[in-house]
């Protein structure tokens, strides 16, 4: 096995696993779709990074932060559901990026490319993944409670706005990492599919989290290996394998 493949696999497994974990929190009433529009909004940033040759996550991140602040403000200022607001942000992101993006670079921006990842990038991914896991662990029970009922959370004296903001921040870092693997278009799938699969199979939170991490990581692993054999782009392969796991889980649904 060559070194480049090992780097790709390690990065993919870490990002896939963390996306799976975070996905379990996002599959609740309002957040399931947020990662998608954030990924799309990241597209102009990815486009800039590809044009000027710097890290796509770095390019994506400021745009994602902007998106998060907008979503957060919208949520406080209006009564519209987050999904509607993210849809607005989404269209805007895609529109802008197609103004900027040279067509020969479009594929990388849209579906990602993890197969040429460097050692430094891999190390950054490992560090950020560990950071995300640590943060998620800290806020997990509070966010679950907020997802169940904001009133109940408020009655428990939880600062709902603060936790929502933290949570969106973590999603932001996740999406910035996700665009490396599957590009701006497919990031939502990276987060949503493993968690959906796991939900079909789980009876408690522990199973839900562990299975989601497992399916996220293994989809990335198999997707990248399949790229090695077929030379189709790795990002879409990862999502297709993830979808395959999901369809299989329907058979075993509890």
């Amino acid at each position: 096995m060559n070194f480049q493949l090992i780097l790709s696999l390690v990065s993919g497994i870490f990002i896939g696993g963390v996306a799976g974990l975070l996905g379990t929190l996002m599959l609740s009433k309002r957040m399931a779709l947020v990662a998608g529009p954030l990924g799309h909004l990241a597209l102009p940033g990815i486009a800039l990074a590809l044009i000027y040759n710097f890290d796509v996550s770095l390019g994506a991140f400021p745009f994602i932060i902007l998106g998060i602040i907008l979503i957060w403000l919208f949520e406080i200022k209006t009564k519209l559901p987050v999904e509607a607001l993210t849809a607005i942000v989404f269209a805007f992101g895609v529109a802008i990026s197609f103004l900027l993006l040279p067509i020969e670079k479009a594929k990388t921006a849209l579906v990602g490319d993890i197969t040429k990842i460097s050692l430094t990038e891999t190390l950054m991914i490992i560090i950020l993944s560990i950071l995300i896991v640590a943060l998620v662990k800290r806020i997990y029970s509070k966010i679950v409670l907020i997802n169940i009922s904001e009133d109940l959370a408020k009655a428990e004296k939880i600062n709902v706005k603060r936790y929502n903001f933290l949570y969106l921040g973590i999603i932001g870092i996740m999406v910035a990492l996700g665009v490396k693997v599957v590009g701006g278009l497919l990031t939502a799938a990276l987060v949503a599919i493993p968690a959906s699969t796991s939900r079909n199979l789980s009876r408690n939170l522990f199973q839900y989290n562990s299975l989601s991490i497992f399916f996220g990581a293994f989809s990335a692993l198999f997707g990248i290996l399949l790229f090695k054999i077929t030379h189709f782009p790795a990002g879409p392969l990862i999502i297709i394998i993830s979808t395959f796991f999901f369809l299989t889980s329907l058979v075993f649904k509890r």
Binding site: S28, L152, R199
Partner: protein
């Protein structure tokens, strides 16, 4: 605040989205009392509970006795089934230990569901689990929003006798919102008829007259005093 009071509300006004939901409401709750808030849909009952919990902004005064701990039993939790969660997981969200969870479940006769999925409980079991959840960390006051809204009649009796038992054992003060006139009558020490403001308040045997209820609901309600 007087010594035996646990809550005093003075001239409370609550406005949500520029709509006055509660107007100039005043009442007091004594320690160990069961206070029932009765009223038609849209009368502001749930809003009142949530305002007392500190969820909504208000004008006027809400004075809880110092050091009081409040447990809240919400009406419904429709989103809870989105998350695969055991009863144990649900209680752990409150940060209590496994031993505490088991002892609470025992207290509410739900020991057998410890590992069971929260989505697989019957409506009566789920309601009891919510009550148990509110009991975690030993509150002195329990706030109930329609504790029996989605439960059949025998189930209702069970819930109310459970509340009664817990109240006596733990020396709780209970505030509840309900439509259940008969059970209100058997169970409450004090009643507030709420329709934005207090239409009437006092002891149930004095307050629950057909005239007052008609005023509250603005149409005829047949209600007979129990003689037993």
């Amino acid at each position: 605040m007087e010594k035996d009071l646990i809550l005093e509300v003075k001239n409370l006004w609550v406005e949500l989205d520029k709509l006055k939901v509660i107007e100039n409401l005043s009442f007091r709750v004594k320690e160990g009392e069961v206070l029932t808030i009765l009223g038609p849909n849209g009368a502001g009952k749930t809003v009142l509970l949530k305002t007392l919990l500190g969820i909504f902004p208000y004008q006027g005064e809400i004075i809880w006795k110092k050091g009081v701990k409040i447990g809240y039993v919400p009406q419904r939790l429709p989103f809870i089934k989105n998350i695969p969660m055991s009863v144990k997981d649900f209680f752990e969200l409150k940060g209590i230990s496994e031993t505490e969870i088991k002892s609470i479940l025992k207290e509410i006769d739900l020991e057998e569901v410890f590992e069971k999925g929260i989505g697989n409980l019957s409506s009566g079991q789920f309601q009891r689990a919510l009550i148990g959840w509110a009991l975690a960390r030993n509150p002195n006051v329990l706030l109930f929003d329609e504790p029996t809204a989605e439960i059949d009649i025998p189930g209702k009796e069970t819930i109310y006798s459970l509340i009664k038992r817990l109240k006596e054992k733990r020396n709780l003060t209970v505030l509840l919102v309900t439509h259940d006139l008969n059970i209100v009558y058997k169970f409450s020490d004090y009643i507030i008829c709420l329709n934005k403001t207090a239409i009437c308040q006092g002891k149930p045997e004095i307050i629950l007259t057909p005239e007052n209820l008609q005023k509250l609901y603005r149409h005829e309600i047949k209600f007979y005093k129990h003689t037993h």
